[in-house]
Symmetry: C2
Subunit: 360 residues, 2 copies
């Protein structure tokens, strides 16, 4: 039924709006929507982490690794108050689910990272409380200290009332498939709260050929983060933690495009390879039981349609990646998607409310 709706929407779209880049021209109709717009990967920063990243960067030239520590994004990232709310009102965003901009606290030594993560979580929740109904927030974590991360996740959900957690892919070149990080998954599953795996620059093991200026965010981020997700599947994380829910941005970092090929070639490789991976089901099938994907930076119709056809509407959520993407343009793209009213509401409101347990 869901898929029929998607395909019907595709027809209704006509031709030009089937291409996301054309839909930029469409006009949102604020105030005439029958749903809220919840955007779930919206970046912010606190001055203490900003200062620590600048200290770490020292006199080196600006780098993708530290995230935006200079330039036009610093001010909107640091604004957790009136300016942000005004931009949301102007652009037609009802709710932002906040997270500290990549790479979060994952560049620091463990002790400093743990302290800064807790501070960030307290600070984001001040904003959530100050503007009722306008914000949710994902807990910043310091995977450098897995036990402390698990405790902070517990505090974030049970004491602070946060809506999940976020990890910016690798930490010191290590991925969460390493069992030393699994206390974090155990806590997330017990707390019934999702973990968003957000990109950062590729790990040292990947960065060589991928390091092309101009193509880091558009390609290498997806490779890094899609690979991270597959490492979790490959390591049996979801057989061990069957209720664990991972969220991937950027339309699932390309994994929906390769859905059938992943299963097909997994069968092929495990049949003919002497080494063998034991999984309870075909690998891509975990995308439909343990993952949700968001449209951050990918509010284009062709990849969205393919993703809806592959994963189903219930596993896809709307996101913008404010302030790195143009918020007004992304809301206009959403308005132009040829979706039924029910599917549109699922995409931009009810799925997010359910997954992140957002209060209305």
């Amino acid at each position: 039924m869901k898929r029929r709706t998607v395909l019907g929407g595709l027809l209704a779209a006509g031709v030009s709006s089937s291409l996301g880049r054309h839909s930029r021209a469409a006009t949102a109709a604020p105030g005439r929507r029958d749903h809220r717009v919840i955007a779930v990967e919206e970046a912010c920063q606190i001055p203490e982490i900003h200062a620590a990243l600048k200290r770490l960067a020292g006199n080196n030239p600006p780098s993708m690794k530290t995230g935006p520590i200079a330039g036009p994004f610093v001010a909107p990232l640091l604004d957790l108050g009136e300016g942000r709310v005004r931009a949301m009102d102007a652009d037609g965003v009802d709710v932002q689910v906040l997270s500290i901009t990549s790479p979060g606290v994952q560049l620091f030594d463990a002790a400093e990272a743990v302290t800064l993560a807790a501070l960030a979580n307290d600070r984001m929740m001040e904003t959530v409380r100050k503007y009722p109904g306008r914000f949710g927030a994902l807990a910043t974590l310091a995977p450098q200290d897995p036990a402390a991360s698990a405790r902070e996740l517990d505090r974030a959900i049970t004491k602070l009332g946060m809506n999940g957690a976020i990890v910016n892919s690798h930490t010191n070149g290590e991925y969460l498939d390493d069992p030393k990080f699994w206390p974090l998954f155990e806590a997330a599953e017990a707390l019934d709260t999702p973990i968003y795996i957000h990109p950062r620059e590729p790990s040292p093991g990947l960065e060589g050929p991928l390091w092309m200026p101009g193509f880091i965010v558009g390609w290498a981020y997806g490779v890094e983060t899609g690979t991270h997700a597959l490492r979790l599947i490959s390591a049996g994380v979801f057989d061990r933690f069957p209720k664990l829910q991972i969220v991937l941005g950027h339309m699932g970092e390309g994994l929906p495009f390769f859905y059938d090929r992943l299963n097909n070639r997994f069968r092929f490789e495990t049949a003919f390879s002497p080494r063998s991976v034991k999984l309870q089901k075909p690998p891509a099938d975990y995308l439909k039981s343990n993952f949700h994907v968001t449209t951050s930076g990918m509010n284009h119709w062709a990849p969205l349609a393919a993703t809806l056809a592959t994963l189903g509407i219930e596993r896809v959520m709307y996101a913008i990646d404010y302030p790195m993407e143009n918020q007004a343009g992304e809301v206009a793209a959403l308005a132009a998607f040829p979706l039924s009213a029910g599917d549109r509401r699922a995409l931009c409101e009810t799925n997010a409310a359910r997954v992140f347990k957002l209060k209305a």
Copy 2:
């Protein structure tokens, strides 16, 4: 116009056939088609390269790196005669465009690679001549010796009448964006013949986190080869050789899914990065002027529909990856795609005939 046809086809498809994995159940109707089925990434092997790869592997356990040197694919790969033609007849394939299975001759020292490449090209053309109208062939090249490669490409096209060339991604960890390889592009452009960049296992600079048994072909191959293609764009290869045509298998190795994001984030990164890449147009736009993609291993409707909507029907060609994929199943998937007659013919016949200059 082309896009309207694709979307119309999507509607006609109904629901279940929108998913490639369901369309396996569909039945091809051999003999009742109004078009030929040309499959353009069909693997073969010659005994001399097979023996050289076995010698190279020595007593090591079987590895993805050498390709199929043992197991069930060896016999069909080595069959360049009656058995192959019988399988094509049984499965409904009119024409196979042959290429030596990955990694071709790219593991050998330069002198041996050059000799084996020429032998492979002579041998494939014996088959092409023996079965008129049933085969085309792509020249095996030895990028280890760029000048010799360029000469062999010239011989392959002008003397042997081959239909293009194939390179299996990196050679000793180096990609074709290195200007030392550009004599090959210069020759290809002058000869007006396409170069197919086929996957092999990731280069040493990428293989660490990507080395997941069960996910090498389904994911790492795409990362390796998609990255290779972007390196060509990034290096300005297509500004230097504007008529050069590259073919990518596996539905463009994921690049069509990221089409708009690649352009969007390229603008972002080059605006804010002190280092700068000079290109004559947005990077993904080169996919529509200098690339064709094929459906090898990706005969699934969701990624095909997204690719058609992004690149247009004229840049997409049908392929199977015989014998590694099930030829009959892939032909059935083709028959089940909800395409107009014109688009279907373009996909599986006329585009390939044009790009590879195949004789009818």
